[in-house]
């Protein structure tokens, strides 16, 4: 019997979505092997949130809690969970491929001397061999890795690996606390400040998204993006540069450190389309791109290319929609 361990990332009292998707993946893998899905979470004051993992499909939930784990630091978190993972003798440990989840996966793998594959887009297990694949090189090649069973294979899974399971409130259980003594050497590093936007928009379910990039130029110009979005009943998207400039809050961000979206219509305005943004939007059904630079990479994925100044084009579109 082989259990599958899922590291569940809990931030600000919420279990992150990719961790929930990983539980769905783990359910499939564990069922094949006659094992259980064992969830692990680390932090400070997380027991109540962690109990919710049962409803998403966990068979057992273990937590490591310590005041020193209030904010995520690779060394302290890896020290907190590695020994317990090693003691479980599980062939597979799944992490969410979030910025911090993937980082922890790599740190734990080194501590355990375990094989590690990050950012995987698919995973299957057969006869003692686990095969993982990931999209690479601007989604042109799928790289495949195989690991024989032995030491635990550490894998981080990308957003979209599975649907988030529907919570089944009839499933419940007792959270087991793991006692870990963290020594002072791992407590020296600290998260001093955290500045994370609250999620107020639902980009993932939006039918139409109008997104703006750095090419918009100023916060005042960004009003045109908002006006077009209003006319279309669309949500507003943005690149990281726009969020950093403060023109829109961070929950509007699409791309590598933002949301991955698949709307029916995506209109990109003043967005050059660097790969970090493209990975978040290139699966939209219809893509319209407006940019002054005819060579902007966003045009490689656009169904409609408009080479021109958005200050001329967008008002025309607004007028046509009426």
């Amino acid at each position: 019997m082989s259990n599958v361990i899922v590291y569940a990332e809990i931030d600000d009292g919420l279990i992150n979505d990719i961790s929930l998707q990983a539980i769905a993946v783990a359910r499939g893998l564990a069922a094949d092997q006659g094992g259980q899905v064992v969830c692990l979470a680390a932090g400070s004051g997380i027991a109540e949130t962690a109990a919710g993992l049962f409803s998403y499909g966990a068979d057992a939930v273990h937590t490591v809690e310590d005041a020193a784990l209030e904010g995520y630091v690779a060394k302290s978190y890896a020290a907190a969970i590695s020994d317990w993972i090693a003691s479980q003798d599980a062939p597979l440990v799944l992490f969410p491929a979030s910025t911090l989840g993937g980082d922890l996966a790599a740190a734990v793998a080194t501590r355990l001397g375990a094989p590690c594959a990050l950012d995987c887009d698919s995973i299957e297990s057969e006869g003692g061999t686990t095969k993982v694949k990931r999209d690479e090189f601007d989604r042109k090649v799928m790289t495949c890795f195989e690991a024989a069973s032995g030491s635990p294979l550490i894998v981080s899974l990308r957003d979209g690996i599975a649907e988030v399971p529907v919570a089944d409130e009839s499933r419940s259980g007792a959270v087991e606390s793991i006692a870990v003594e963290l020594d002072d050497s791992v407590k020296a590093a600290k998260v001093l400040a955290r500045n994370v936007a609250k999620k107020t928009v639902n980009l993932k379910d939006a039918r139409i998204i109008v997104a703006g990039g750095a090419g918009i130029g100023t916060a005042e110009n960004f009003a045109l993006v908002k006006e077009l979005a209003d006319k279309l009943g669309a949500e507003i998207g943005a690149t990281r540069a726009v969020v950093d400039a403060g023109w829109v809050p961070a929950d509007h961000q699409i791309g590598q450190t933002g949301a991955t979206v698949r709307p029916e219509v995506y209109i990109g305005i003043g967005i050059s389309g660097a790969v970090q943004h493209r990975v978040g939007m290139c699966d939209a059904e219809k893509i319209i791109a407006i940019n002054t630079d005819a060579n902007a990479p966003i045009f490689h994925v656009a169904h409609y290319k408009i080479v021109g100044d958005f200050k001329d084009v967008v008002p025309k579109l607004i007028e046509m929609i009426g």
């Binding site: 630091v73 020296a188 955290r194």
Partner: protein, 181 residues
């Protein structure tokens, strides 16, 4: 400046981290290590994190800004989903520097090796082999094994160029996209 001689083709990230860690230990004391998040097999900061874990030092991944170096440590701002965190680390520390800020930035990442060559044209580069670093076979523990590559079916985008000045073409595009006409 120094470099390590090893056939990179079959090395995985853990093996690379071990080689670099051995070279760093050989050089002696240090305060700060800087690594890029983009490595040969992905943009995930794995090399930095595994290097720090191998050396047993603190690390921060996805660093966008070095806020302060003072008091025997460093303060770094890291990009995370929907925001930022500021992390304080004691020396010795490792920072993996990300390109998140470049996602809509026309400045392309520069070729660090070429820049160094230009700046340090005359300085000799010391080279160490894996054996000199005390590692017999850097490939010995590489896992998971690369099993191959599969082409990803490329999405064929039928792209239409719409003349920005042509009102009828813009209207036709809107009708197609919004009403499926």
């Amino acid at each position: 400046m120094s470099s390590i001689e090893a056939d990179p083709r079959s090395l995985d990230t853990a093996a690379r981290a071990e080689l670099i860690a051995a070279a760093i230990r050989q050089r002696g004391e240090y305060n700060l290590l800087l690594v890029g998040t983009t490595i040969p097999d992905g943009d995930n900061g794995m090399l930095g994190t595994q290097l720090a874990a191998t050396l047993g030092i603190d690390s921060v991944n996805w660093v966008d800004e070095l806020e302060e170096i003072a008091g025997g440590g460093v303060k770094a701002k890291r990009a995370i989903e929907m925001g930022y965190e500021t992390v304080e680390l004691p020396f010795p520390a490792l920072l993996s520097v990300g390109v998140a800020l470049l996602e809509d930035d026309p400045r392309a990442p520069r070729n660090a090796k070429a820049m160094l060559k230009l700046k340090k044209k005359k300085e000799p580069i010391a080279t160490a082999t894996a054996a000199e670093l005390g590692i017999d076979d850097p490939n010995a523990n590489c896992s998971p094994k690369l099993a191959g590559f599969e082409p990803v079916e490329q999405r064929v985008v039928e792209s239409k160029e719409i003349d920005a000045e042509d009102g009828d073409a813009l209207q036709a595009m809107l009708n197609e996209v919004l009403k499926g006409e």
